[in-house]
């Protein structure tokens, strides 16, 4: 940079910036499957995973689909509106896990059922005081932000 005139320095910078943006876009586009953290149920239906492939599935826990009472095992269905996939999980669920909430599970597909070995809850960007939500529910005007 030292020996260059001001105009040439600006040209070098612009060129470097364009090259950076282009390479980032190309790398990001080419590796989008690896960069995306999970697959949606629709994607799993469209492109079924290989036999025994470990992957993450993410979506909403379908309303009324949670079945407990099989010891430590819980089963439910995960949906993205397009496709629904049954999930079975043995272990402790995070606090935020509930129906109509986002979740991400890691595991394998076995006979059309996703056997999860780990379940994470996805939080949305809604922040509301508890009293307000209770009051809204009492008046019957509460709308689930995810619903």
């Amino acid at each position: 940079m030292k020996g260059l005139k001001k105009k040439r320095r600006i040209q070098v910078l612009l060129l470097a910036a364009v090259a950076l943006v282009l390479s980032t876009a190309l790398i990001g586009y080419a590796m989008r499957d690896g960069i995306n953290f999970f697959r949606s149920p629709s994607q799993v239906v469209e492109e079924p995973p290989r036999e025994g492939e470990v992957f993450r599935i993410g979506g909403l826990v379908e309303d009324g689909s949670i079945v407990r009472g099989q010891g430590e095992t819980v089963s439910f269905a995960v949906t993205d509106g397009g496709a629904t996939i049954p999930v079975r999980f043995t272990g402790v669920l995070p606090d935020l896990f509930s129906e109509n909430q986002g979740m991400i599970g890691t595991g394998v597909m076995e006979d059309g059922t996703f056997i999860a070995r780990e379940i994470l809850a996805k939080h949305d960007e809604t922040y509301m005081p508890r009293e307000v939500v209770d009051a809204l529910k009492e008046q019957g005007v509460y709308q689930d932000p995810n619903g």
Partner: protein
């Protein structure tokens, strides 16, 4: 009067000496006020309970981690194009502060993630690019220390800063490109529908203002130190010559 007058070290020292007490005072007031308001005088969230209070540190520190890098980028570009030494020193001075903000955001995020998501860490696009940003901060600081000639160091770190901007911007906008991640979208954005209730939103704004002012205060102090240490070196060099 042009803005470039402030690139004169003498003018910069005068102006910053005048501004520093004000900025420091405002930073302390906003930070202490905002954090006390946020921690003790806000209700619990309907889903997260009192864990929600961590946003009063997490959101401002994550914002400043990214904004500090953007500020370093602007200062580096001014150095490369216009060769103002104060600009290069300001970028150097901001790096450790930005790195600390990144660490704070990573730690508070992990503490929040454990009870909420069910994990301390996940290789989500947003989290990963933030971790890489942290590593870039380390590399940037190391590069400044590794090169003896100050002008060469300023040139090379400027180029590193330009490359690192990719991850600074990605950690903010990753959710727009790869929307299947674990991290929720931005809690605050100008265009989107408001999702944060006002009782949380106002103290958060005060905390953000506090973090911005804290950053400005620290950058001013550290830039002044850098200028003084450079003057000292020049004096020592003159002494040896005599």
């Amino acid at each position: 009067m042009s803005i470039w007058e402030y690139a004169n070290p003498k003018k910069f020292m005068q102006t910053s000496a005048w501004a520093l007490p004000w900025v420091t005072g405002l930073a302390v007031v906003a930070l202490v006020g905002g954090l006390i308001w946020g921690f003790f005088f806000t209700p619990d969230d309907y889903k997260q309970g009192s864990t929600v209070k961590i946003i009063y540190i997490h959101v401002p520190s994550a914002m400043m981690a990214i904004n500090a890098w953007v500020m370093m980028l602007v200062a580096s570009l001014i150095w490369i194009i216009r060769r103002h030494h104060v600009s290069a020193l300001a970028a150097k001075a901001a790096a450790p502060i930005g790195m600390t903000m990144t660490l704070i955001a990573l730690f508070t995020g992990a503490i929040w993630g454990q009870p909420m998501w069910g994990t301390w860490w996940a290789w989500d696009p947003r989290l990963t690019s933030f971790l890489i940003l942290f590593l870039f901060y380390l590399g940037y600081i190391a590069l400044w220390e590794a090169i003896d000639d100050p002008d060469t160091a300023a040139d090379l770190t400027s180029v590193l800063c330009l490359v690192g901007s990719v991850f600074a911007l990605l950690s903010r906008y990753a959710v727009n490109f790869w929307n299947q991640g674990l991290h929720q979208e931005a809690s605050l954005s100008m265009d989107a529908e408001e999702n944060v209730a006002d009782v949380f939103w106002y103290p958060l704004l005060v905390c953000i203002a506090g973090f911005v002012l804290l950053f400005v205060t620290l950058v001013l102090i550290r830039t002044r130190t850098e200028i003084r240490s450079r003057r000292l070196k020049a004096l020592e060099a003159r002494e040896r010559m005599a």
